[in-house]
């Protein structure tokens, strides 16, 4: 576009019809999915702090719910989601700020590292909470 003020080419929108499947695509999809999942997780965290502010009876109910094994699965899944969104989000900051990591192969590699990190970090958090503290 002649006469427009942009100094660098604008990014093109990634689209399922023009892009073959690759790890960075999967990371992008999972980033969005974990973001939406944590949106609903925020209701649970808020419920916990409201229960704490409401008194010992309300907190006791919250405590029983949290210690149920289904809630523990949700909590672990939440930890995986948070750790992935954190790691992958930091990668986005490197993309958007200093523009580091755009090479397709490096981007794919970082995507795989982020997947691995999220599961390992969530496992470490869960293990720390159950066994170390």
């Amino acid at each position: 576009m002649a006469g427009s003020g942009w100094t660098d080419p604008r990014p093109l929108s990634p689209h399922l019809q023009v892009w073959r499947f690759h790890m960075t695509m999967l990371a992008s999809i999972i980033h969005r999915a974990t973001g939406v999942a944590m949106y609903f997780g925020a209701f649970l965290i808020t419920a916990w702090i409201v229960a704490l502010a409401s008194g010992p009876e309300a907190y006791a109910i919250a405590d029983v719910i949290i210690n149920h094994f289904l809630a523990q699965i949700v909590l672990f899944a939440w930890a995986v989601a948070v750790m992935f969104h954190l790691a992958n989000g930091i990668r986005y900051l490197f993309w958007d700020g200093p523009k580091i990591g755009f090479d397709p192969n490096i981007a794919s590699l970082i995507s795989i590292v982020n997947f691995g990190f999220s599961v390992v970090a969530a496992g470490a958090i869960y293990g720390y909470a159950v066994f170390a503290v």
């Binding site: 973001g35 702090i49 704490l52 405590d63 948070v82 900051l93 503290v133």
Partner: protein, 129 residues
């Protein structure tokens, strides 16, 4: 007040939507805050909740923890409001449903913010520390 910018000026700066990179930048600034606050919260809350109600209450009542909790909830709720707004705008093309969900997103986030921040403040102020 009369507008001093020409139509071309407003289009260059913000575009026809009257909003430019503000959403993008706010999403990233709140992300930087959360990259610090979330690891603190996870590590801290594990210790705080280990010994039950009294220890969780003591933890929240400490001024530094209350301040960081208020910052955490503010940044997280702001960040997730921006994020879900983008998701709604991307996937919901139907006008009425799109507006309804965007409004619901705003209401949900403000409801959570009121509930979470008042809970932290109640515990903090109630403790008298």
């Amino acid at each position: 007040m009369t507008r001093k910018s020409t139509p071309m000026g407003s289009v260059r700066g913000l575009g026809s939507a009257q909003a430019g990179t503000e959403h993008f930048i706010h999403q990233r600034v709140s992300a930087i805050a959360l990259a610090v606050l979330v690891p603190w919260f996870i590590f801290s809350v594990i210790h705080a909740t280990k010994a039950g109600y009294a220890s969780a209450l003591d933890w929240t009542a400490k001024p530094w923890n209350a301040i960081l909790l208020i910052l955490l909830f503010s940044a997280a709720l702001y960040h997730m409001r921006l994020g879900l707004q983008t998701v709604i705008e991307d996937y919901i093309a139907k006008s009425g449903m799109r507006q309804a969900l965007l409004i619901l997103n705003t209401f949900a986030v403000f409801a959570l913010m009121a509930a979470a921040l008042l809970s932290v403040l109640k515990i903090w102020i109630g403790s008298g520390v």
